[in-house]
Amino acid sequence: MTPEYLSRFGGILIFILGGIAFVLLVVGIARMIRPNRPDENKLSPYECGEDPVGNVWTNFNVRFYLVALLFLLFEVELVLLFPWAVLFSDAESLATFGTSWIWISITEITLFLGMLIAGLAYAWRKGYLAWVKPDPKPETIEPVVPGALYEEINRQYERKK
């Protein structure tokens, strides 16, 4: 005996299984009918003559780190707000709660969002969300030709004029 809700999700399950089966089927048919003659060039990751350099698993840039941390908090905040949005868009459930609930919940959500926005504003104001720029040092070049020589030449040409 399968409950009704499960048979609705059964469609999704069949879809997933169908997707897996389709991929396996296509790859399997391709494997069966293709000639199998590997050589070194065919087995390389890029078949365009590019030799891959280094490892795929490289260091991520530290610049994304703070943004990633804040993203997690805002994602959970979104998940907490979602039921409210669903309730609020549904006139039937609004009617069961009554008008006072509408204003209470709006105040509540405003406070909730205000807290998070305060946190974000704090981070922003302090410049923590700014993109960490590389700090280029201006190169100072010691000229081989002394500056006095240039000035001498300039003076000579000025006299000619």
Binding site: Y65, L69, L72, L73, E75, V76, V79, L80
Partner: protein
């Protein structure tokens, strides 16, 4: 006993305690802080599963709301925890919990 392997309350109790025990095992035998962190998440997940099973069993949505709050707390915990972990790595150069032995007196 046959209930342990079916979707009855006993089955969920067994599965959740198994997942919880695997999480405890991971915390006890691994030295890598990230893996220990993941084991904590696993244990939280096992508790979530059990809360949901009991909530469905008693037909009471409060249990599922608790799961919500557990997820919210887990997210906050992960944010701070990973920030601390990166600091530990910057200071000691490793993510082994043995590098924090000095916290013992």
């Amino acid at each position: 006993m046959e209930n342990l392997f079916s979707n009855t309350l006993d089955g969920y109790l067994f599965l959740a305690s198994l997942l919880f025990a695997i999480g405890v095992l991971g915390i006890l035998i691994r030295r890598n802080i990230i893996i220990i962190f993941m084991c904590v998440e696993l244990m939280l997940s096992a508790v979530n599963l059990l809360l949901t099973a009991f909530s469905v069993h008693h037909n009471d949505p409060n249990g599922q709301v608790f799961v919500f709050f557990i997820m919210a707390v887990a997210a906050a915990e992960i944010t701070i925890g990973l920030a601390i972990l990166v600091m530990i790595y910057r200071n000691t150069g490793s993510v082994s919990i043995d590098s924090l032995k000095k916290l013992k007196w």
